[in-house]
């Protein structure tokens, strides 16, 4: 088993995967807290357009993804806390970007394989340079998030009060979206566009079921995503199925497990609101 680590691509995969997992678990906590799951999903699809554009221009896919996702993240960050009720707008941008990506793919000739690699990840083809870039961007994200931790937490929990206390909510929102864009681009390398959600949102959501203290939730979320990623890679090298499948299955397992655990530990702690389909219209004035 350990013989595997003699191969360079195996070491690269584990190093990049581990870094991405840590960053995803960390950033994911705030994504869940801020209710930006759909925005995160849209960013990953925008990354798809970026990756296909990069393939078209013949540059590194990471550069293309970063460019497109950072641009989109800036726009979404400008919406700030209003982003929560903008699912239609997010959806429209998502489809448009996908359509654009399909066009780029269509122009490149070897479209099918490129598309599948972008969509489902290609962790085994990660190079030494990719690892360096991933670790650099990961450390940068962790440090920045560490510095912003308290104000960001405050602004995520209660944007109105945070704003009243003088926390720069709008700037934090933009900055966070930019960090999310970097994390999404990194995660796309490992699990692909379609499964970014599995690393960025699922571990954090599972952690949130089990604890309400921010620090323990973050620690739990990082652990879940690290165990799932490294475990998934390990299984992929031993078994014959794709790494993305194992990673997604493990994180999903944690999520459903946490649902069950929560039901056992605190059956009455969470009251569900009376109606599932209640929605706030963007133009409706706030009552009261």
């Amino acid at each position: 088993m350990l013989d595997l680590f003699q191969h360079e691509f195996v070491r690269n995969a584990f190093l990049a995967g581990g870094m991405v997992a840590i960053v995803s678990g960390l950033v994911g906590y705030f994504v869940v807290l801020r209710g930006q799951a759909f925005a995160c999903e849209a960013l990953s699809h925008i990354g798809f357009t970026g990756a296909t554009a990069a393939a078209l221009l013949g540059i590194s896919s990471l550069v293309g993804m970063m460019f497109f996702t950072l641009l989109a993240a800036f726009g979404m960050g400008m919406l700030g806390k209003r982003l929560r009720n903008r699912d239609v707008e997010v959806g429209m941008i998502l489809t448009f970007m996908l359509g654009l990506g399909v066009l780029f793919l269509n122009i490149i000739t070897q479209s099918a394989t490129t598309a599948v690699n972008i969509l489902f990840g290609s962790i085994l083809s990660v190079t030494q340079t990719d690892v360096m870039v991933t670790i650099g961007a990961g450390l940068f994200t962790i440090l920045l998030l560490g510095g912003l931790y308290r104000p960001l937490l405050f602004a995520s929990f209660d944007p109105d009060i945070a704003e009243a206390r003088g926390v720069p909510v709008q700037e934090l929102s933009i900055l966070f979206m930019l960090l999310l864009a970097i994390s999404v681009s990194e995660a796309m390398k490992v699990v692909g566009v379609l499964l970014v959600f599995a690393l960025l949102v699922v571990p954090a959501a599972a952690a949130e079921h089990l604890t309400h203290r921010p620090l323990s939730a973050i620690a739990l979320s990082v652990s879940i995503s690290l165990i799932s990623t490294l475990g998934g890679l390990m299984l992929a090298f031993v078994g014959h199925w794709p790494a993305s499948f194992y990673i997604v299955s493990l994180t999903s397992l944690f999520y459903f497990g946490s649902l069950g655990l929560r039901a056992i530990l605190a059956p009455r702690r969470f009251k569900e609101p009376s109606h599932p389909s209640r929605e706030v219209f963007p133009d409706a004035p706030k009552p009261g």
């Binding site: 869940v32 699912d87 429209m92 489809t95 499964l195 009376s274 599932p276 009552p287």
Partner: protein, 311 residues
């Protein structure tokens, strides 16, 4: 008129017929999808269809069976798991990514994996034969009939679930039924136009229509018309060029949505006191009054009201 010459090819005729049927069905269901704030669920269901189709390819059964099994199952799972509004997006996403993970597994077990994945994801509107058109027609007719029957109560429960429930409507059941209908729509539409386009047609036309007209019936009508126009123009343009039809349709949808969204926002802010806006706030006021009266009787509902406000 040079452009219309493509109509002599049977595959273009088939694409046109099937595309139109899909556009009508998605126009109706998409309206409810947008009104109910289920955009993400629509996206997820179309991605989940991918897993179903991949599984069917692996097992060698007709794709429609895999599609229906996966999307209807996921639709029900979403309506069960996504009851808490805060949790809904995450629950939808977990089901979606898990299904996609399965999809990639199925495809990797199957030879010719990349090409198959590509054609499922991006659709092959030119590969439609006449029997596909008939199947699409039959299923669309069924869906439209069901929507005609449940349309009114569904509309009521979408706009004002509290009042609808108070009047004795099975709000939850309607919600689940609606997701199942969306699942069936996605299944029939995906075979015709691919995962990507299903979502574009489900959300694009209604999102634009809602910004243009207020009455639900007119909005649904307009969204059908927009869907048809996008589909027809998209197929026409694609047939006369080398670029893919999905690119044209998504770009048309986005290109029309964007100006409408910004211009109509101006108009609403300026002088129209807003049928819906005022109706919503009236509803909100009545709900608040109700909550306050409840609060006097039980301290428990105070917390539920807080949750309501945050949601």
């Amino acid at each position: 008129m040079q452009m219309l010459a493509v109509f002599q090819y049977p595959f273009i005729q088939n694409a046109f017929l099937a595309g139109s049927l899909v556009a009508i069905t998605t126009g109706i269901l998409g309206y409810f999808l947008v009104v109910r704030g289920l955009t993400f669920a629509g996206h997820a269901l179309s991605n989940i269809g991918f897993a179903g189709a991949a599984g069917a390819v692996l097992l060698g059964v007709p794709p429609v069976i895999g599609l229906l099994a996966a999307t209807v199952g996921a639709g029900l799972a979403i309506s069960v798991l996504g009851r808490e509004i805060r949790e809904r997006d995450v629950a939808i996403g977990v089901i979606m990514t898990f299904a996609l993970g399965l999809g990639i597994l199925f495809l990797s077990l199957y030879h010719g994996y990349a090409e198959q994945a590509y054609s499922i994801l991006f659709g092959t509107i030119v590969g439609i034969n006449r029997s596909d058109v008939w199947v699409t027609a039959g299923l669309s007719a069924g869906l439209i009939t069901i929507m005609a029957l449940v349309g009114r109560p569904l509309l009521f429960s979408s706009f004002d679930p509290e009042l609808a429930e108070a009047r004795g409507l099975p709000v939850r059941l309607l919600g689940s039924l609606f997701l199942v209908l969306v699942a069936v729509t996605v299944s029939i539409a995906m075979q015709v136009i691919g995962v990507l386009l299903v979502f574009a047609l489900l959300v694009g036309p209604p999102a634009t229509a809602i910004r243009l007209v207020r009455r639900p019936a007119s909005a649904i009508g307009l969204s059908i018309i927009l869907g048809l126009v996008y589909t027809w123009l998209g197929i026409l343009l694609a047939a006369n060029s080398t670029w893919p039809v999905s690119f044209y349709i998504t770009t048309l949808a986005f290109g029309i949505y964007l100006p409408v969204r910004y211009l109509s926002k101006y108009r609403m802010e300026r002088n129209i006191p807003g049928d819906r806006a005022s109706a919503r706030s009236a509803t909100a006021e009545s709900i608040q009054a109700e909550n306050i009266s409840n609060m006097r009787s039980s301290p428990d509902s105070a917390s539920s009201m807080k949750g309501e406000r945050h949601a």
